[in-house]
Assembly symmetry: C2
Homo-oligomer: 393 residues x 2
């Protein structure tokens, strides 16, 4: 078992009607002016944004707004947000939306609290020394950004998707009303469920002995998301199913499922980030498309772990050797993805990768040969190419 | 599923050698002077206190010390600590020990940060408006006070044991090195394991539908503690077993195992608190002594829940009706307590309760008829008396 730190300072306010507490929660943070950050028109159309404004008004908190965040949030809007914060003396950012909005809010927070180009942090050239405090009203269960330390931004200049993580950006509070996720289209719900599962699976697949407490929590989380994701495919308004998935989303990425491990593998995420940067695919769908190919490529380095996953999570009957059990587990997960209408190859997303594009993805993912990814098996540019090739379909 | 709040701001620094980071962790809090609070000679004899002092010296942090905390920590020492904090301008309290030391530190923190008598909070006469910041170096896995909002103090004037809970007292950090718990006597280790389990069981037994995520985490936590408690009876130096139990102790009482529930029952704790106040028994042992009698007294009000516990936690084969399954689960838990040499009656602790004492315990526990306890079944003074009577043995 490895030493670990666990730090989740975000105050979660979970349940029906909790968005009406937003103004009060912001007021508790003692700030002067809020930037309300959001995405597309859906929070406007649903009336949520209006309710949030009323809640801020009631708490006598002045605010400015910046909408327009898109999936795979863009650096250009981050720059705009930083400028707005400086001009308006904003000292608190309220993200109303899903992972893209929260990640964009974190990036704006870094930029407003530090000198120089915020992209430096995402390029790992510098370390942030602070971040404006962030609050969240969550509308999509997926990224787990509401409790995580991470933020992923896409730079349109070269379509590079890069992540930066720091405890400074952990949200002060997260308002989580599962009802707000009921109107999500089926594809986005499914994609969110895959994303949630992958945050736990990335940590679960590692090379150390791990911790029983952590393994059991992870396995239960995965089984719970699978069960409730299937319910949501036919009953999108099932409050309890929405709530289970939403809470699992936060626990999956707040650090809990990594305690006592070596940090996890994360290669699937890195491989998907480049796909998302190049093709703007839904993150969860992209993860589903590459995971099986990654798993088959690396499983020989940790057959016991993959076999444990197969038995405890996927309910596979153990075979005479771990590798056979492992393969059945991978197949069962792909079968599950199919039941959610999630892709299990890149072609399933309607993308026909050319030879050149696969090479380009691998080059970008390895930062042009400057890094390897993964820990189950360390992957270099050629390995990445082989996995993209297998995942092409 | 109920609405809930989840707030665990404590930074956990877990693993071998982590106590050497204490000075640095205190320094990050930006305080001027620390009160180092501890219990008996064991932290002196082991050299731990000296290492902590060195770590504080290295970080240039001045400190004063106050030892002498005993199990069921006393109000008189809390008063002494408050006076010392005021005299020495202490602005941070470092608790080096187990639950008693941490609870005492929290009470001192309340007293130093608020005017008037600190006991008022424990008597629920007033609400604390703040608390000095607390840090923890944990040496006993049991109470979960290192991440919880609660503190239990015994007033020698009447031997009343009372609890007070507030987010103000959540520790800023908790240093958790499982090695520090290896020298604990077997009885204390077992008692700690019971305490840990009971923090989850108190929440698990409730009258609402609950949450799948929470139920599964709770059931896994209980199974993990049971398994590793048994290992520790013969292998007290098993690092992984110590670590599983220690981490389970924090997760059991930081709020995670109560998410989505109605808060839980807590009657066993209330019944034990009076026993602890009157006889100074080890908390976990006292809980083991009353739990079975409580469970049999209330199980008819929630047979499904008790049956689920029996099957998922105790591994009992389901009977044709829930009540029969429930009884088998209670018996299995008592059998488990016996394997740890824990009492399953008050007599097992060497205490022969008189009729008068049982009446007195029930009167104190109901605050002289002013409150009921429990939620599975609301218990009045007479119910409490009946449970003490059944638990007498």
């Amino acid at each position: 078992m490895e030493n670990f730190q666990y730090y989740t300072p975000t105050k979660v306010v979970f349940g029906k009607g909790t968005e009406d507490q937003t103004g009060q929660l912001v007021a508790e943070q003692g700030c002067r002016k809020v930037l309300v950050h959001y995405g597309s028109g859906s929070v406007v159309r649903s009336g949520l944004l209006e309710r949030i404004y009323r809640s801020l008004d009631k708490a006598d908190i002045p605010y400015v707004s910046l909408g327009g965040v898109v999936p795979n949030p863009r650096l250009s809007l981050v720059y705009e947000g930083i400028e707005l914060c400086r001009k308006e003396n904003v000292d608190f950012i309220l993200a109303v939306g899903g992972g893209s909005v929260i990640d964009s809010a974190k990036a704006i927070g870094y930029g407003a609290a530090n000198d120089g180009d915020v992209w430096d942090f995402y390029e790992k050239k510098r370390t942030a020394q602070g971040c404006l405090p962030i609050g969240v009203v969550l509308t999509i269960a997926a990224a787990g950004s509401e409790m995580s330390d991470s933020s992923v931004i896409t730079n349109e200049n070269g379509w590079l998707k890069r992540g930066y993580s720091s405890n400074y950006a952990r949200a002060r509070f997260a308002v989580m009303n599962p009802e707000l996720t009921m109107t999500l289209p089926k594809y986005q719900t499914a994609s969110g469920c895959v994303d949630i599962m992958m945050h736990t699976m990335e940590r679960y697949f590692n090379r150390c002995d791990n911790m029983e407490m952590t393994d059991g929590i992870s396995e239960h989380l995965l089984r719970t998301v699978m069960k409730n994701a299937e319910i949501l495919m036919s009953e999108p308004d099932d409050y309890n199913a929405r709530a289970e998935v939403m809470w699992a989303g936060s626990l999956s990425h707040n650090g809990l499922t990594g305690c006592g491990t070596d940090g996890g593998d994360w290669a699937s995420h890195q491989l998907e980030h480049e796909l998302g940067g190049m093709f703007d695919v839904a993150h969860g769908a992209g993860l589903a498309a590459v995971w099986g190919s990654w798993a088959r490529y690396v499983m020989d380095a940790a057959p016991k772990r993959f076999a444990k996953f197969a038995v405890n999570v996927m309910g596979v009957a153990p075979e005479s050797d771990d590798t056979m059990t492992a393969v059945k587990g991978i197949e069962a997960m792909e079968e599950f993805y199919r039941t959610l209408d999630m892709p299990v190859s890149i072609r399933d997303m309607g993308i026909e990768l050319s030879e050149e594009q696969m090479r380009e993805l691998a080059e970008k993912c390895s930062h042009f040969g400057k890094r390897t990814i993964g820990c189950i098996r360390k992957l270099d540019t050629e390995d990445m190419y082989q996995i993209y090739r297998a995942a092409r379909g």
